[in-house]
């Protein structure tokens, strides 16, 4: 019964439990599990949990400190409050749950709270990794397919226009062969960094293959793309790269996912052939 998700914890009968504390633990844990099953993000779950214990125990403040692989030690405070100089000491707190005023250890099952928060954050991290390329931090191919589908659908429905650009690093194989894969990886990381610097809010960039990147640029004239690519090439001074690109605009040139992608890809291929010649 304890780990059955329920929208309304008050509907559950906890009278079979043998103490007020046990019933209190059960109520709260059930509410938290209910939150976890609602599909909120891990970060949102942590804040919601803190808010719940705030109201449940009529507290002024509550803090949870977790230590999670991939995140390190992290401090969360109810209400997403800005940290003031009065409570900087929290940054040094060891993992646990902290409340103001203090609660007797028996009154709250902080072990369950910590475990649930860790699970929720772990899911966040897994989801992030599932949608992002680990080398560059950009979106991966799966994310790109989804983003392009959405962009095409929006364009069809609302008439929004966008440019699809596919980028490829010139002579990337030679770079890998001559300077090693570490140099190749560094170049790709640098390119990812350059893309993040140059692109506008609302533009999307993804690494869709070994050295292939795709950009979805809303309200962009294809004539502006060569200048943009130049800026990307020079954005990261540590890696001087030459890029080839192919571009197609939606809905002017194509208004379907496959056609649009093939058109941009064919133009990239033509640009690469010129370089080879």
């Amino acid at each position: 019964m304890l780990f059955t998700a329920s929208e309304d914890v008050n509907d559950i009968d906890f009278t079979g439990l043998d103490s007020d504390d046990a019933r209190s633990h059960a109520h709260l844990t059930n509410a938290l599990v209910s939150d976890l099953s609602c599909g909120v993000s891990g970060i949102a779950f942590v804040y919601r949990s803190l808010d719940r214990i705030l109201h449940y125990y009529d507290l002024r403040d509550a803090v949870i400190v977790i230590d999670e692989a991939g995140l390190g030690r992290q401090v969360f405070r109810a209400g997403r409050e800005i940290l003031t100089d009065d409570n900087l000491a929290l940054l040094d707190a060891t993992p646990g749950v902290y409340t103001d005023p203090p609660l007797e250890p028996d009154r709250i099952d902080d072990g369950a709270l910590m475990s649930l928060c860790l699970v929720a954050l772990q899911v966040d991290l897994l989801q992030y990794d599932a949608w992002h390329d680990s080398l560059t931090g950009l979106y991966d191919r799966r994310s790109f397919d989804r983003l392009l589908e959405l962009a095409v659908a929006r364009s069809g429905r609302y008439g929004w226009r966008f440019a699809l650009v596919i980028l490829d690093v010139d002579r990337f194989k030679a770079l890998n062969d001559m300077e090693g894969h570490a140099a190749g990886d560094a170049a790709l990381r640098g390119l990812g960094e350059g893309l993040r610097r140059v692109l506008r809010f609302g533009d999307d960039a993804a690494r869709i293959g070994g050295d292939e990147f795709a950009l979805i640029l809303p309200e962009t004239d294809p004539g502006d793309v060569p200048e943009l690519v130049k800026r990307i090439e020079t954005a990261d001074v540590s890696t001087a790269l030459s890029l080839s690109f192919g571009c197609a605009s939606c809905p002017e040139e194509a208004d379907e996912f496959d056609t649009l992608f093939r058109m941009a890809d064919a133009r990239l291929y033509a640009a690469k052939e010129k370089i080879t010649e």
């Binding site: 390190g72 992290q74 707190a93 646990g96 992030y128």
Partner: protein
């Protein structure tokens, strides 16, 4: 804007232990606390991440914590790497991090109690004693903030925000802290404007209206420092001048602005006291 996604990405940056947000007028304030493992360009990286998630202008308030070199004191560096003035001496601090079952709770945060003293989690990667900033801020015996006629405003940090094209100046008078901003396009005068903007945030009045007149680089030293002179225009009076050195011309211009104010103006607190 999805604040959860933004927070997750910021907290994934190595060394970031705390991220919080606040709407400040028409911009989003992002507060970050970074431990020693954070990269040197973490503020820039954070502003880029935030810009990807948020269409509003963004201010990143980064506090970088470093372990004490030898003693038990902490050093707090602001994002430009310059250390603030040493905090006033505090009475002996209660030891250690918040592990109330083993140690008394810190006086600066007296009412929080750990429900689960974590014996399995090893020692904090950060030095275990309390930061003097926290102790000084919360301890009843902490000395009052310095009087206005003493060496007054200090630069805590300078940020150049590429995404919003702004210069951000953080000042402190030993107790309060303000932030001033101006467009980066104004060059060195932008640093002067941002400094004056931050000065106006303190509970003081400046007896005469002042405005940036000019800012002129004087010299770059072999140690990589710059010397800048600044003139401030005052209504109906002659210009006043300031001179300062800094790590780069922007920092020097901000310092020279404070120098001009400190040497030439006699600001009074708004309550009438001097």
């Amino acid at each position: 804007m999805n604040l959860d996604d933004l927070e997750l990405e910021l907290r994934k940056l190595p060394g970031i232990r705390w991220a919080a947000f606040s709407d400040v007028g028409d911009r989003l304030l992002v507060q970050l606390h970074a431990m020693q493992s954070a990269r040197s360009d973490v503020a820039l990286e954070a502003s880029r991440i935030a810009a990807r998630h948020c269409e509003l202008p963004i201010s990143v308030d980064l506090v970088r914590w470093l372990p004490p070199p030898k003693s038990t004191e902490h050093t707090m560096l602001r994002s430009n790497g310059s250390a603030p003035p040493p905090p006033p001496p505090a009475p002996p601090a209660p030891p250690a991090s918040i592990e109330p079952s083993a140690r008394p709770a810190p006086q600066s945060f007296p009412s929080y109690t750990s429900l689960r003293p974590s014996s399995s989690s090893g020692p904090s990667s950060w030095s275990p004693s309390l930061a003097p900033v926290a102790v000084a801020a919360g301890h009843p015996a902490a000395p009052p903030p310095p009087a206005w006629h003493e060496p007054r405003l200090e630069i805590l940090g300078l940020l150049t925000l590429v995404d919003t094209d702004e210069i951000e100046v953080h000042l402190t008078d030993g107790a309060a802290r303000t932030i001033g901003r101006a467009s980066r396009r104004h060059g060195l005068l932008g640093a002067v404007e941002a400094t004056l903007d931050a000065v106006r945030g303190f509970p003081i009045t400046i007896e005469l209206p002042v405005a940036p007149a000019w800012a002129q680089p004087i010299q770059s030293t072999s140690g990589g420092r710059s010397v800048v002179a600044v003139a401030l225009a005052r209504l109906g009076r002659e210009e006043c001048y300031g001179l300062a050195s800094g790590n780069g011309e922007v920092e020097a211009a901000a310092g020279a602005t404070l120098d001009a104010l400190h040497r030439n103006l006699r600001p009074a607190r708004r309550d009438g006291s001097v």
